[in-house]
Amino acid sequence: MLSTTVILLLSLLALSVAAAASVGILGLALSELFSPLPLANAIGELAWGTSAEFLLVAIPLYVLMGELLVSSGVAGRMYGAVSKWVSWLPGGLMNANIGASALFSATSGSSVATAATISTLALPEQRKAGYNAPLFLGSIAAGGTLGILIPPSINMIVFALIANVSVPKLYLAATLPAVVLMSLFMLAIIGACMVRPGLAGERPVVTWRERIESLPHLVPPLAIFVLVIGVIYGGIATASESAALGVIAALLLAWYKKALTIATLRRAFESTMRTTGMIILITLSAFFLNFVLSSIGLTTMLVEFVTSMELSALGTMLAIILFYILLGCFMDTLAMLVTTAPLTVPIVVALGFDPIWFGVMLILLCEMGQLTPPFGMNLFVVHSIRGEGKFIDVIYGALPFCLILLLMLGILLAFPQLALWLPLQMSSVS
């Protein structure tokens, strides 16, 4: 049963059938093969129930918010301001890439949007200032992956729904790892450029006056972040409600910046519909597959099989991590998350790990998947916005950051408290 499932899924995916259809067809086929019950009859109710889920409302709203912010020119001014503050460090603008990505991530739910936005802003600078191309490209691709680790995050919303955990807790759990990862990224750049100064281009000369004057440009993105994330912990709104607040705030901001035209709106709506259709279809087909797998007993079988192997919990976790690293090479990371989490979460919980902690691990693995060839979405984004040079440059440039992600996974494995401490603080407050 297990081998049929795996082979069928991989074949459909390899034959380039859309991930959502692959998952759905797999569910229908497994139901025909292994179930005495007509499980397909559940698909309508599941589709209605899943797509009307209030938690998922956050997804189109995050996309819409990000689109409105980009079109109001907030992102461009923010990059300029960040670079004025951090580009004196060894590594110069590459630090700005990481910093600006982190800041933009705080207003965007996706990594692709983050990488695309920062690429368009940063790449012209690279040519002007003569940076080592691979590392510079890598810093953008890697910085972009922070998009799903720093809240708000579409991937975390989807994981929370699958694993039945609280979104605010997950957001809180990701916060410290995000800070550590961002620092590691910057430290790596600074370290590399201190050892080999040739990697960095000329650092822009910035006066303190310019720095101070650039500060106001940091206000809009920070304000949006505080609004969207702050209201959750301030006891004002749930995650979905805060996304609605973000949309309205971004809309007002765009209007204030006189960027709210029919064309901007149309562009934002189009992108929102496209992304929403993609995410919701794959999510609801995954929910159907989940129902089928549970009904034919595969989920239980797999959990019993893994626990019966009597591997240590650590050994199993390492195997799971390896599995995700390999899968991440070939698959879109959201598709990977949605199709596998229904199976891995029960195993991980049965082994005694915290599902919130595992959620953060999975997000880190998704980030890695976005940076590994042959299918690494952020690599593609950076490469094609660059529009010149070799693709292999981007891969080389991202490699050190993949190693840092591995290190980060190790740190989180050794110190789960890094993720679990903040959520725990929240419970002891009241």
Partner: protein, 325 residues
């Protein structure tokens, strides 16, 4: 003669609930097979593990995608207001009364489910008293005024509104965080299940006013039922009664200990000792509650129709001495 070999895929209640492990699991996986000489077997999955949310169970059983399923009447009542009659808010102030009402109303639902919904009712089920877990102390009924309270179902929301509270709907997974941050002030759940879910860590005040009992049912799709061998039907019917009795008895035991566990005072078995501050409605409050309960029953009667009201009065109403016009 031996029974024909039969296997059931059962979707039970929430696997985090006490009775799931204490009653449902042993019943389906051990007792039923033993009672049938090993001929009738079943495997049981929890609702959430099956990727289901609750309201769809009746439809899935009718469509055959689930063999035997468990549902809570308040969740599935979108398709039929009549379901709610078994557990109207404020109608049963203790679990024995709730059981009396359920038993009286059961034949009505049994017929309704098979005639209209294509489901054979097997057993009724109850959970512990649905009470308020709050961040701030509630000393008296009036203290609930203006508080944001997480409820489920229209009737419960109406009841909470009548008490002066603001009913809020929220997914179960979000309740703990929402209580922590103060997005909501109180949440209603079983006095036992709230303990099992450790709600006392985030909401240290219990207002012991049983709104309802989350009464639910085990059922089987009628088509599936009709295809069963008569000997299996007879066995299933007889064993379902055993299941029903055990579920109610065990829930009563859970309910009786739950207050002691939550407050940490007195005899605590089954659940974990906490130190919540508890209060209950006063005699004066009781009179107010009674009139609210009647009022909501009347409103429900209007939605449900005259035939429905007549049947309710003759059965459930008679059991508690209430008549709706």
């Amino acid at each position: 003669a031996d029974l024909p070999k039969t296997h059931f895929k059962v979707v039970g209640g929430g696997s985090h609930n006490y009775t799931f492990g204490a009653v449902e699991k042993p019943f389906w996986e051990t007792m039923l097979p033993e009672a049938s000489g090993g001929q009738v077997t079943a495997d049981l999955a929890g609702l959430a593990e099956s990727g289901l949310k609750g309201p769809e169970v009746v439809r899935l059983m009718r469509a055959g995608a689930v063999d035997i399923g468990m549902g809570v009447f308040a969740y599935v009542s979108s398709d039929d207001a009549m379901f709610e009659g078994i557990d109207l808010p404020g109608m049963a102030t203790d679990i024995d009364t709730a059981r009396k009402v359920a038993q009286a109303y059961r034949p009505v639902l049994d017929r309704r489910m098979s005639e209209r919904h294509g489901i054979k009712l097997l057993a009724t089920v109850a959970y512990t008293a649905q009470v308020f877990f709050c961040r701030e102390p509630v000393a008296q009924l009036a203290d609930l005024k203006g508080r944001k309270i997480r409820t489920r179902g229209r009737n419960m929301a109406d009841y909470v509104s009548a008490l002066g509270g603001n009913p809020v709907t929220l997914p179960f997974a979000e309740v703990v965080t929402a209580l922590q941050t103060g997005v909501i002030d109180c949440a209603v759940t079983g006095i036992g299940s709230g303990n099992a879910a450790k709600w006392f860590e985030v909401a240290n005040n219990l207002y012991n006013l049983p709104i309802d009992w989350s009464v639910g049912f085990y059922g089987i799709g009628l088509k599936r039922w009709q295809r069963l061998d008569p000997s299996v039907q007879a066995l299933l019917e007889q064993q379902s009664q055993v299941l029903e009795n055990r579920l109610w008895d065990e829930t009563k035991r859970e309910n009786d200990f739950a207050l002691a566990c939550n407050t940490g005072e007195g005899d605590c078995q089954i659940h974990e000792k906490a130190n919540m501050k508890a209060a209950a409605p006063t005699a004066q409050d009781q009179a107010v509650l009674r009139s609210i309960a009647l009022n909501i029953a009347q409103q429900w009667g209007k939605r449900c129709g005259t035939d429905c009201v007549r049947e309710w009065n003759e059965t459930a109403g008679a059991a508690v001495g209430v008549t709706i016009d």
